[in-house]
């Protein structure tokens, strides 16, 4: 049950390297897929899968200019390690919110 990209939500402006303009939409799209995948893995109790997904996000976010993705990935990774369902869900919620609101400017 995902929220749509609500117009009423405040936007979060992120500046990214213009050289990466072609890659960014695909990158954010993949994070939306991650969110779905993490939810599914959480449902099936596959914490290891959750952890790896979080770990990868942590490794890639900052490079694209999304330090928040790195931060959230790191939270998801450690929560998954502790099998802390609530912790994962909380971080996931924030990540989803972030992805929905983020607006990239290239400069």
């Amino acid at each position: 049950m995902r929220k749509g990209k609500g117009k009423f939500l405040d936007k979060i402006i992120v500046q990214c390297d213009p050289d990466l303009e072609d890659l960014i939409p695909g990158y954010l799209n993949n994070r939306e897929k991650d969110i779905v995948a993490i939810r599914e893995s959480l449902d099936s109790g596959d914490f290891e899968k959750v952890r790896t997904l979080g770990h990868s996000m942590k490794g890639s976010g900052g490079g694209y200019g999304f330090d928040e993705v790195t931060r959230m990935g790191s939270r998801i990774e450690s929560a998954a390690l502790a099998k802390d369902v609530e912790g994962v869900e909380e971080a996931l919620q924030e990540l989803e919110d972030y992805i929905n609101r983020v607006e990239v400017v290239f400069s």
């Binding site: 990466l20 890659l23 990158y27 770990h55 990868s56 942590k58 490794g59 490079g63 790195t70």
Partner: protein, 455 residues
């Protein structure tokens, strides 16, 4: 880099990561810097690409399914020991980083990685950066050669000096294994820290473990004081494990463990301590054979043999002989303050075609012997033949005389020091390894001199 591609094309970088987003980002960064980029998403594909696209550098993720970055690194170095490999890891675990550098990784970076840092590291390891400070360090200035086999070996050695990569030197006795090891150390970033040599064959089995790893006070009979061990003594520097082929099997297991987690546990201690040493080992034995025969562990062999360097025997590089003779004649005359002697043409050609079973060490002895014995400036063929031991005669007795003098000398030094090998070696002006070799040659056991008087 091979010479055929360094000038004609952009450096080619193979990027390995199972995360397609990271792969895309890295590829983009590198292409922007005008590198030629090849991307693959697994270690297996990476190995296939190395043969096909011949990259100049590999950038790989550490944690991947199936073959991880560490396994990829070992495999790459088995095939191409000089190919620079930069590792990227999701977490900065120091043991991983240490292990990676000993396996030959050029650098270890943590994700998310900064573009500038990555590019800088890549340029550095492709030797493209303006900072060529390492190129200026002279390498092995006391290693004399002219042959192309030696030139190639020295080039390889220089290339590996810069890192912590584990080096394995083979060569017949007297070919220069130890001076090569020292040259690598002296050209490495560890050059201001100790270079410690240990002859694994000369130290009695029971003592070797505590010599290497140290021991606690009272760990065994005779352990009166706590002892740090050679791994500790070489801290920050290089440990040269000479005659590694002679290491007893049960100690091989212990050494393997140390090389796996870079920690040592002193004998009698419950705690392991981290170590920071670069390992260079050497042997004149055929370890391949020893592994087959079961006297040397295969797993240890592979861990030591990350970069194998093989020094050719002197008879396989006769071009070097004249240069070496000249160098050591010069040294002899300088030491004695006498005019430099030379070999007659017949003597010289005889020397160049001699079999030299004792290699450069034998050559030095022959030069010294000829220069001492010959009263004129030109050393004739007959003297050379004597010195090479090809003729019976009074030289035999000289040899014997030298031998018994040496034996008496060793005994009196050991009596003086009460069997302390370190100080005896110092007095004799030899390093411990050489000193142990001498003792061995004369069948002298320093322990015999440690017994309290009256026994």
């Amino acid at each position: 880099m091979t010479s055929d591609n360094s000038t004609t094309r952009q450096p080619r970088i193979l990027v390995v990561d199972d995360d397609s987003d990271v792969l895309a980002l890295l590829a983009k960064w590198l292409k922007d810097e005008k590198f030629d980029v090849v991307t693959v998403s697994s270690g297996k594909d990476a190995l296939a690409q190395i043969g096909i696209t011949r990259p100049d550098l590999v950038l790989t993720d550490l944690v991947m399914d199936e073959m991880d970055g560490m396994a990829l690194l070992s495999e790459i170095h088995r095939q191409k020991p000089l190919l620079p490999v930069i590792m990227l890891s999701g977490q900065a675990k120091i043991p991983d980083a240490v292990k990676a550098t000993h396996l030959g990784s050029s650098a270890f970076l943590t994700k998310p990685v900064e573009k500038d840092e990555l590019i800088e590291q890549i340029r550095k390891h492709l030797h493209l950066s303006g900072d060529n400070s390492n190129g200026k360090i002279p390498f092995g200035e006391d290693i004399i050669y002219r042959s192309s086999v030696m030139a190639e070996l020295i080039e390889q050695s220089r290339a590996v000096a810069d890192s912590d990569i584990t080096v394995f030197i083979t060569g017949e006795t007297g070919t220069g294994k130890e001076i090569l090891a020292k040259a690598i150390h002296d050209a490495s970033p560890r050059r201001d820290r100790p270079f410690i040599g240990v002859n694994c064959g000369a130290i009695p089995e029971q003592l070797l473990e505590s010599e290497l790893f140290g021991h606690e006070k009272g760990a065994f009979t005779g352990a009166m004081t706590q002892h740090d061990g050679l791994f500790k003594a070489a801290d920050g520097g290089t440990l040269f494990l000479d005659e590694i082929g002679d290491m007893p099997l049960d100690l091989q297991v212990k050494l393997l463990r140390v090389l796996q987690d870079f920690q040592v546990r002193p004998v009698g201690s419950v705690r392991s301590v981290p170590i920071n040493v670069r390992i260079i080992s050497a042997t004149h034995n055929n370890l391949e054979q020893a592994v087959k025969e079961g006297t040397f562990r295969a797993d240890l062999y592979y861990r030591l043999k990350v970069v194998p360097l093989s020094i050719p025997a002197l008879r396989e590089r006769p071009e070097d002989i004249e240069l070496l003779l000249d160098y050591y004649l010069e040294r002899f005359s300088r030491k004695r303050g006498e005019p430099k002697k030379s070999f007659s043409p017949e003597a010289l050609s005889h020397l160049i075609s001699a079999p030299w079973p004792g290699n450069v060490r034998q050559l030095i002895n022959v030069v010294d012997l000829c220069a001492t014995m010959n009263k004129t400036d030109i050393i004739p063929l007959s003297m050379v033949q004597k010195a090479l031991g090809e003729e019976e005669g009074d030289l035999r007795t000289l040899k014997d005389a030298k031998h018994s003098f040496e034996r008496d000398y060793l005994i009196s030094v050991l009596q003086l020091t009460k069997g302390q090998v370190a100080s005896s070696a110092r007095i004799a002006g030899r390093n411990r390894t050489e000193f142990y070799k001498l003792l061995n040659a004369h069948n002298i056991d320093p322990a015999d001199f440690r017994k309290p008087p009256g026994n």
